[in-house]
């Protein structure tokens, strides 16, 4: 009950932030230089053509009128029409979110597991060789340009060794995968399509590895730091001096207090991962949300920019909310 009230209160706090995001993106895309109409019409279009196109997208109306129309659309779930493709933004979005989520969720999940195992291992060997190596590796991961790492993996995994497919798709078209959610791996499981599953998996391997490597570094450092803090705490010392069994010590006195901060970290990393996917999708020609939003941004495709910015903000805020709820459940000290 308290939890529900907490969630409700937090959702209410989210509303002004999202409203600010909506207003700000709306105004900024229009005020700052760049004209979507010119980019779709090309250099040979006349003024009259431009005016006609403007009228078609409602861009000739005064700004407040456009804003009201936009808000009205938002309330009914209509994100407008893409200026570039002429297709409804909502349906384009639905196609693009699945592939990106597939990438991000797999990578973050993988990174979490690796970070917890290595981080705790490293903390228990603090200031010894193993610990130092793990920390240096984490720092290298932290300093890694993900788009370059992607290229290097392609160079090695595809060009040199030929173990992985070319970076030009998400699944072999010959497998006849029926798209359901947009996430190919999930679709393959849902339609029990074995060949599609292996194909999707091999296409996913390099991008997921790339993203996981960049994402694991900050997680690993934080897990190590909080595990170390617990190990050096008086509470852990007390448990040790009272001769508790190693298993009890590890589970009850090290992991639990060390991992209460993990949800918040995971949320933060989720954000970094979304930023990185834009670059990684670009490298692997992954037809996901990031590519779509980036193109919208480059061509000043107003409805696309507005929709993607809103979606990212909403997703980010929700992920943090979930993290806070999980944290509250894990940590008895948190009052909600």
């Amino acid at each position: 009950m308290r939890l529900l009230r907490f969630v409700a209160r937090r959702l209410l706090q989210v509303v002004p932030v999202l409203l600010g995001v909506v207003v700000l993106t709306f105004v900024l895309v229009r005020v700052l230089p760049g004209d979507p109409i010119r980019t779709i019409l090309g250099p040979n279009a006349t003024e009259a053509d431009a005016a006609a196109a403007r009228a078609r997208f409602g861009l000739d109306k005064p700004m407040w009128q456009q804003f009201l129309d936009y808000l009205k659309g938002l309330v009914t779930g209509d994100f407008g029409t893409s200026i570039q493709s002429g297709a409804p933004v909502g349906s384009e979005l639905a196609l693009r979110v699945g592939p990106t989520l597939e990438l991000v969720v797999l990578a973050v999940g993988l990174a979490l597991v690796v970070a917890v195992v290595l981080g705790v291992w490293s903390a228990r060997r603090a200031d010894r060789f193993g610990d130092h190596s793990v920390r240096i590796l984490a720092l290298v991961g932290n300093s890694m340009p993900e788009f370059w790492l992607g290229l290097v993996l392609i160079l090695v995994g595809y060009s040199a060794l030929g173990w992985f497919p070319a970076p030009s798709g998400r699944v072999d078209p010959d497998t006849d995968l029926t798209p359901l959610t947009g996430a190919d791996l999930v679709d393959a499981i849902l339609t029990a399509n074995g060949p599609a599953f292996t194909s999707a998996l091999s296409h996913l391997a390099l991008p997921v590895a790339t993203l996981a490597i960049v994402v694991v570094a900050p997680l690993l450092r934080s897990v190590r730091a909080s595990a170390l803090e617990v190990l050096r705490s008086e509470a852990y010392l007390a448990a040790t001096t009272h001769g508790l069994r190693p298993r009890t010590l590890l589970r009850g006195y090290l992991l639990r207090p060390a991992l209460v901060r993990l949800p918040a970290l995971a949320a933060l990393v989720f954000g970094t991962a979304i930023g990185s996917t834009v670059l990684i999708e670009y490298v692997y020609s992954w037809q996901g949300f990031g590519q779509w939003a980036l193109r919208g941004l480059l061509y000043r495709d107003y409805p696309v920019v507005q929709a993607s910015v809103l979606l990212i903000a909403l997703g980010y805020v929700l992920v943090f909310l979930i993290a806070d709820v999980v944290h509250a459940v894990l940590d008895p000290r948190v009052r909600i």
């Binding site: 995001v21 230089p33 760049g34 340009p145 290229l151 060009s159």
Partner: protein, 285 residues
């Protein structure tokens, strides 16, 4: 109560690793900075000079690291790019620190509606992953070195504002601030002489790490065509230009600039990590 001097001793003890981190990081950065300054001396070609006879030439001969599709010398461009990458990153972080600290100080010390308004703005900024925000701002502001500095600074400033604000709010409650107020010091005096210097402690640790991140952002933006564009010499732009060659197995157009970027960012990371560890040691001992 341990006396101050022995504490200083125990701080140094076991801090060998953190010192190694700091020294290595600083050394890497010094080498990169020197190479950037000495670029004209150690490279045979100008950064945008085209050798029409050698496009996509492999490493060796007149071009130690080969040339790109335009026939520009990779090694020269690598060196000149260091100037831009380092310069933009450091300038952007400096700007972010100054702006963020000023805002955080105001919000934290004054509280009330100033705090509310500033923090809501920070909230909006922080409702986005920073790289996405950088993308959006860069796309809106357009290319140009100054614009890139502003972009990266703008994206980072909110985090500093929040950090300094939190720090200020806890420092405000410490006895030495009360001591200063009861000594008759003015609000500005308290802020300047006591609150500001003490609230900058975490900023000092985070700024180097942030410089590394700023470089990655700059390169990432350029990679997507939103930052420095060819023929400008910048590591991300160079990687971008070389990326189509990767599928064909031509590594020298994209691997060296990425490696340079990695090493340089690693320098900042090592420095930041070392400083962080030293600060933690100081806090716990």
């Amino acid at each position: 109560m341990a006396n101050g001097r022995t504490r200083a001793v125990s701080r140094r003890a076991g801090g060998g690793f953190s010192r190694a981190l700091i020294v290595t990081g600083a050394a890497i950065l010094a080498v990169v900075a020197l190479a950037a300054l000495a670029a004209p001396l150690i490279s045979g070609w100008g950064p945008e000079e085209i050798d029409a006879n050698a496009t996509l030439a492999g490493p060796g001969g007149a071009h130690p690291l080969g040339t790109d599709t335009n026939g520009m010398d990779i090694w020269s461009r690598l060196l000149y790019a260091a100037r831009l990458d380092l310069g933009v990153a450091v300038a952007a972080v400096a700007l972010a620190v100054v702006a963020g600290t000023a805002l955080g100080l105001l919000a934290g010390y004054l509280g009330g509606w100033v705090d509310d308004v500033l923090m809501r703005i920070v909230d909006i900024f922080q409702a986005f992953p920073t790289f996405i925000l950088a993308l959006a701002v860069a796309a809106l502001l357009g290319n140009g070195t100054v614009n890139l500095v502003i972009t990266i600074a703008a994206v980072n400033a909110p985090a500093y504002a929040r950090l300094v604000r939190a720090e200020v709010r806890s420092i405000r409650e410490l006895p030495f601030v009360d001591a200063s107020i009861t000594s008759g010091a003015s609000t500005l005096g308290v802020l300047w002489r006591h609150v500001l210097p003490n609230s900058l402690t975490p900023v000092r640790v985070i700024a180097p790490l942030n410089c590394g991140w700023a470089m990655l952002t700059l390169a990432g933006l350029s990679f997507l065509g939103l930052g420095v564009t060819v023929p400008g010499a910048e590591w991300g732009a160079m990687i971008s230009l070389g990326s189509p060659d990767v599928v064909a197995g031509r590594w020298w157009t994209s691997v060296p600039p990425g490696l340079a970027l990695l090493v340089c960012v690693l320098g900042f990371s090592l420095l930041g990590e070392g400083l962080q560890e030293r600060a933690d040691r100081r806090r716990t001992s």
